[in-house]
Subunit: 451 residues, 2 copies
């Protein structure tokens, strides 16, 4: 029994997500009407080029190039164009006209989120963006609503499917980064220009969004420390596997206290890190995403699922569409974005973390003591130090005895696991190690997470 | 800048969850006020006995035995008493008086949910119950809101921490059920009378709630097929481990088609089942919970976290309190429970599943053919048939040769994995096998899930 007038839904963009959203809106009209209490009417799809080839059979008359006209007549505007402009301008227009906006645009939300929330609040419109982070996985709503009575301390997210596919493939097949990337490209998991993914830019946008939401503050994208996976080597992945760990590209958002000032702050950062095999994130394979949340009361939570894909992302978009539509039917101004806190964003140097440092050293007496002194002088406490499985090298460094064979192998490999220390102290210590006479080369420096 | 009047919160029950909710409401008043836009005022805690010993330092003057009086003055009533009565009566009173109700009471929601939703809808009040299923894990809101634009096809849930702890311990330590239960009791994971947990009653209540919510229909508790873990043996767990699988107590909610009538239906059921080690649910250890959701568009999702515990469950309760409070501040009648569908609940016999059947058979020629004929006559197609690792028995059954040793071992063990078939056909076939001359004993029948 539908009593409410039809709700007019305008779609901006007809890519893989947009065309799935349109198809589901048209195909499942009765189902949506029952859930919402009003019929959702797809009034048009704004595209750049009416004649572009599209592999969908959506009615041609839905397409229009007049986005602004379409927006003006809509109750709900779904922005799936991607990129900053013209998406930002259209979202602005839509909110100003009083329409609710649903977007899957992480770049837009990471860079112009606060500005758009302000516009929304001024006119009493709503801005939804569940699909902007981790595709189909419900993470925005749980953070905003389910954990509204709790305090989020830390988020560890695998939020980029391409890099997770690549690192997982290196781990499971022993492939090099180049080979794994080639496979990802072949299978459609990586774009022709993979920079946004493997450079960590995509993950950094999501980290900015997650940190802002979780800590009720504003974390600008340019304050997110970002390292991609391009320097991850097969040797690092193999060594991690042997040590019972795995390398994942993590988006980390965390509350912390500035060690110097005692001031409360937050950190958002993206980098490849070692994580133990027994951590739930280690079991996230292929192009899947997962977000691990540590909250003061709720403890550890994890949200797992497909991070991308047209139809998967369309699910998240349509969940937001139904929420927005219900708000129209049942009334009420909805909930404004909650950014009541104003917490400083700390530099990466202030972060407390652990390192795993792999060194090639001269295989001779006294080396261990020299390395230990450098670490100690740098304020870095050592948790574990071991020589990697000897192949053509000796085992003299740790035992202090002579090499077990004399096959002219003058180097040994040391793997050092540090206790927690400030990132700045760790980084400085690594530089001193690199400059030391006894160190031949630093072959790997990785952060360790998930403790 | 708080402009709205204080919102009056009444608490019913002062157990482990209730006292944590009270403590957090009192300790984090400013934080909640900032998030809600109004101050949450804890006006009282209804208890049965004012003089009961309580290991909290909450102000004595908050306690009262006059629940009905407390309810009448409240904007938000939080019911944490558990059990059906008097909880049901109080929730009824609260909703009728126009208060929003938050409950963690799974027994109440599984048995009287529809009735209470109806009362809520009539008066425009809201009934929240995130904490009733899977403790701190946000699952109600994702199912109700995030997936509102999708179609949930199947839920596999580990929703009882006690039984997961027991089964996990049997798997990881080789303990018997009795020993694992004793450990669970020692560590506070099992109650003195563990029947509700190990009998599957608790999980069945959660299955009824999840199925009703996911399929927008009403699944009465007495239509949930329920088997506990009391018959799970160490031998079954060990055999599963050797075969790369693990036994979990699963709450399964699923859309299916009645094979006879072609009618669409739903099934809700709880039983211990085999699940492959590579399934995300297999990695859920200890007393953790997880809910695996398969949706038409979103694909596979999993929600993981603590399933119980006072402070963890308090997090879920407070998320609902904040949602309810925001509704007061921003207005609007909120969203009614969505049960527009009216789908029949099918009997367990109509369920399509797979079996693993372990048989002791006479170790002689012709046995395999006889067993195969029984399965074939029952309409059960065999996917795998293997002899379990021979110990004191021969290997003649499958190979057709004589036993490799003659140590007077007249029996062999057959492990049969079936293809999918109707539960009714599978059960009937197992009965025929049990009555057969060639079968000495049926040592294990387990369903296989997670395909």
């Amino acid at each position: 029994m539908i009593e409410y007038r039809n709700l007019r839904v305008a779609l901006l963009g007809a890519g893989s997500v947009g065309s799935q959203v349109a198809r589901l809106l048209l195909d499942q009209g009765d189902e949506f009407a029952a859930r919402v209490g009003a019929r959702l009417e797809l009034v048009g799809i704004a595209v750049r080029d009416l004649d572009a080839k599209r592999d969908t059979d959506l009615p041609r008359e839905l397409y229009t190039t007049e986005a602004s006209t379409l927006i003006l007549g809509a109750d709900i505007v779904v922005e799936l164009m991607g990129g900053i402009e013209p998406a930002r301008g259209y979202v602005h227009e839509a909110l100003t006209s009083g329409a609710d906006v649903i977007t899957a645009n992480k770049a837009l939300m990471a860079t112009h989120g606060p500005e758009l929330f302000e516009v929304a609040e001024q006119v009493g419109a709503q801005l939804y963006y569940e699909a902007a982070v981790a595709g189909a996985i419900p993470i925005i709503r749980p953070l905003r609503d389910s954990l509204a009575g709790d305090r989020v301390d830390r988020i560890l997210g695998i939020v980029n499917g391409t890099t997770n596919f690549i690192l997982d493939r290196m781990d499971t097949t022993g492939a090099t980064l180049a080979d794994a990337l080639a496979t990802a490209t072949d299978r459609g998991y990586a774009e022709a220009d993979p920079t946004a993914d493997i450079g960590g830019y995509d993950a950094a946008q999501k980290a900015a969004i997650l940190a802002s939401l979780a800590f009720h503050t504003t974390v600008p994208l340019d304050r997110v420390h970002r390292e991609g996976i391009t320097s991850v080597t097969k040797e690092q992945v193999d060594a991690a596997r042997e040590a019972g760990a795995v390398i994942k590209l993590l988006a980390i958002c965390e509350r912390l206290t500035d060690p110097e000032t005692g001031e409360e702050g937050v950190s958002a950062r993206v980098y490849p890190a070692l994580i133990g095999r027994d951590h739930p994130l280690a079991a996230v394979h292929g192009a899947h995403n997962a977000v691990f949340v540590q909250a003061a009361a709720a403890g550890d939570l994890m949200f797992y699922g497909a991070g991308a894909g047209g139809v998967e992302t369309a699910s998240a978009v349509l969940g937001d569409v139904v929420s927005a539509a219900r708000r129209h039917v049942v009334g009420g101004p909805g909930v404004a974005e909650s950014t009541h806190a104003d917490i400083p964003v700390l530099d990466i140097g202030r972060v407390i973390t652990r390192y795993q440092i792999t060194l090639d050293v001269a295989d001779q007496p006294g080396v261990l003591a020299a390395v230990a002194r450098i670490l100690s002088d740098g304020g870095v406490s050592v948790e574990t130090m071991r020589q990697s499985v000897p192949t053509a090298t000796g085992v003299a460094v740790l035992s202090g005895t002579a090499p077990i064979h004399g096959a002219g192998a003058p180097t040994a490999t040391l793997v050092i696991g540090t206790h927690e220390a400030e990132e700045a102290a760790l980084a400085a210590t690594v530089e001193v190690l690199a400059a030391s006479d006894v160190v031949i080369a630093i072959s790997s420096v990785l952060r360790v997470e998930g403790y």
